[in-house]
């Protein structure tokens, strides 16, 4: 029996695409070699946020006196890990339930394109079956990128998976790479008492963020005892002794760092190997599957979404790509009455959930200037914010960037308490093509952190009340 849609991989790209396909009337199946929910639910977004929440609770206990509470406590590392796994399991079971509810067939095993409209699935028992489909959506995701000097051995040189389930808490850790994953783990382990050193190749941490964000985060991390080495590169790691000895090339020469373990967090590599792309002539580009704005590959009937295609490697991007891809297939088959809008990659928010949190969308100050905009910039320090003061979280700021000519909201860059919950406002307002007037006329509740977005906009236009 042939399916209308078969999805290869059940991450937030794949399982969401499968649900939308089923909703639109397609007979749908999903193929997964490991656990439903992909990296995101099992080894990414969700379990890390559970770990970070434990760290946050522990921080509150450490600082309880500041809140008028007398408390002492210790983090039970294995209980923290266990809780995180429990949360991941619960969410993965949730996907299982959703598949059933939406009448999507789940086929466990490793899938490989066999021929046009055919995927071969090899189960754990070694047996193979052929699944037939009119439309195939590749959503195989990604994995840790590996540097030649930093081969992951799973014990002393680890990737994110191992970092999430270490048997004991290391006394010291070197984190290589300071993107979202690197700083989240760095913060988590440091909060629990591990001595953490972050080594970053670029001249600042979280290098995709606005420069002022990098500076503020570094300041806060250092205050919390995290060591940061920028413009630095791990050239080799000696794992022969008790721990590790990492040679680091810095601007000032070479240094050797000792630690219990090294975490490699240097980016994502797409899973494009061994799934039959070459055999069927599906084009790739720079290690990712090449697609058009509706996620069609060069081979008719084969689509690709999520971390295995270009674009930000983020769960919310993968999900939206899945929805657009499927709605467009449905539109083509007259099962859906309008063509979906293509995703605007310039309006995708990015969040980092360490403390302080980082959230941003749109252009950084430098990007806006480089693009030739004359800009208005407003920055509001959270030290002046009532809610931040009441919450005891005065660190950070909110920075907004507007085009001086037409008043377009070009970007928002926030660092501080709860800012990840506040970035959607900018995304929606940009989507609706706001100018600063409407933001100021929209009443933000007091006292919240979110009202400070409005304050930042006021700063940009010289109308600031509170600074």
């Amino acid at each position: 029996m042939a399916y209308d849609v078969v999805v290869l991989g059940s991450g937030p790209g794949g399982y969401v695409a499968a649900i939308r396909a089923s909703q639109l009337g397609f007979k749908t199946a999903i193929i997964e070699k490991e656990s439903l929910g992909g990296i995101c639910l099992n080894w990414g977004c969700i379990p890390t946020k559970a770990l970070l929440k434990s760290a946050q609770v522990f921080e509150y206990i450490k600082h309880s006196k500041d809140y008028g509470i007398e408390a002492t406590g210790t983090a039970d590392f294995s209980a923290v890990i266990k809780r995180s796994r429990g949360v991941a399991d619960k969410m993965s079971k949730g996907v299982q339930f959703l598949m059933k509810k939406n009448k999507i067939d789940v086929i466990m095993g490793f899938g490989k394109l066999k021929a046009k409209g055919q995927i071969e699935v090899k189960g754990a028992d070694g047996k193979s079956q052929i699944v037939e489909a009119k439309n195939i959506i590749l959503a195989t995701g990604g994995r840790s990128r590996e540097l030649p000097s930093l081969k992951i051995d799973g014990k002393k040189i680890i990737g994110y998976r191992e970092a999430m389930v270490l048997p004991t808490q290391p006394k010291s850790m070197i984190v290589v790479g300071s993107g979202a994953i690197g700083v989240e783990f760095g913060y988590f382990y440091a909060a629990l008492g591990t001595k953490v050193t972050i080594v970053e190749f670029m001249d600042r941490i979280v290098p995709v963020e606005d420069e002022e964000i990098s500076k503020e985060l570094a300041k806060n991390f250092k205050k919390n005892g995290i060591e940061i080495m920028t413009s630095s590169e791990v050239t080799s790691v000696d794992t022969s002794g008790n721990g590790v000895k990492a040679k680091v090339k810095t601007k000032d020469g070479e240094v050797v760092l000792e630690a219990d373990v090294v975490l490699s967090a240097v980016g994502v590599a797409a899973n494009i190997e061994g799934i039959g792309l070459e055999e069927l002539g599906v084009k790739t580009e720079k290690g990712k599957i090449a697609v058009d704005k509706y996620y069609k590959t060069n081979v008719p009937g084969i689509y690709a979404i999520g971390d295995c295609v270009p674009g930000q490697a983020l769960a919310h991007v993968a999900s939206k790509e899945g929805i657009i891809c499927v709605e467009n297939i449905a539109y083509g088959e007259k099962k859906y009455n309008h063509q979906p809008e293509a995703l605007d990659y310039g309006n995708v928010p990015g969040c980092t959930y360490c403390t302080p949190e980082v959230a941003s969308v749109g252009m950084t100050e430098k990007q806006a200037k480089d693009a030739g905009y004359e800009i208005k910039v407003g920055k509001f320090p959270l030290s002046a914010a009532g809610k931040a003061t009441a919450a005891g979280h005065n660190e950070g700021f909110i920075k907004v960037i507007f085009d001086a000519k037409y008043g377009e909201w070009l970007g928002t860059h926030m660092i501080g308490y709860n800012v990840t919950e506040m970035i959607a406002e900018t995304v929606v307002a940009r989507k609706l093509e706001t100018t600063y007037h409407e933001v100021l006329d929209a009443i933000h509740p007091h006292p919240t952190m979110s009202e400070n977005i409005k304050e930042a906009v006021e700063v940009a236009y010289g109308e600031a009340i509170h600074i």
Partner: protein, 74 residues
Amino acid sequence: AAQNGARFFSPLVLNIATSEGVSLNELETLPGSGTDGRVTKKDILQYVANRKAGKPAVATATATVTAPPVHRQE
């Protein structure tokens, strides 16, 4: 946004129109590429660029007037 015509224009589109001397009447005739034919920032910027280049008003590159104003999936 305050306007008298039948169509909705985003604040940014109106701002660009004002800055570039595009009248409301002109705006009303612009094809829109957004959901339900809404005129987007891109559409009006294209229109202004075309006008400066002396091209006809209708040549908005991506202006595929798509969906009639119906809701999806109800």
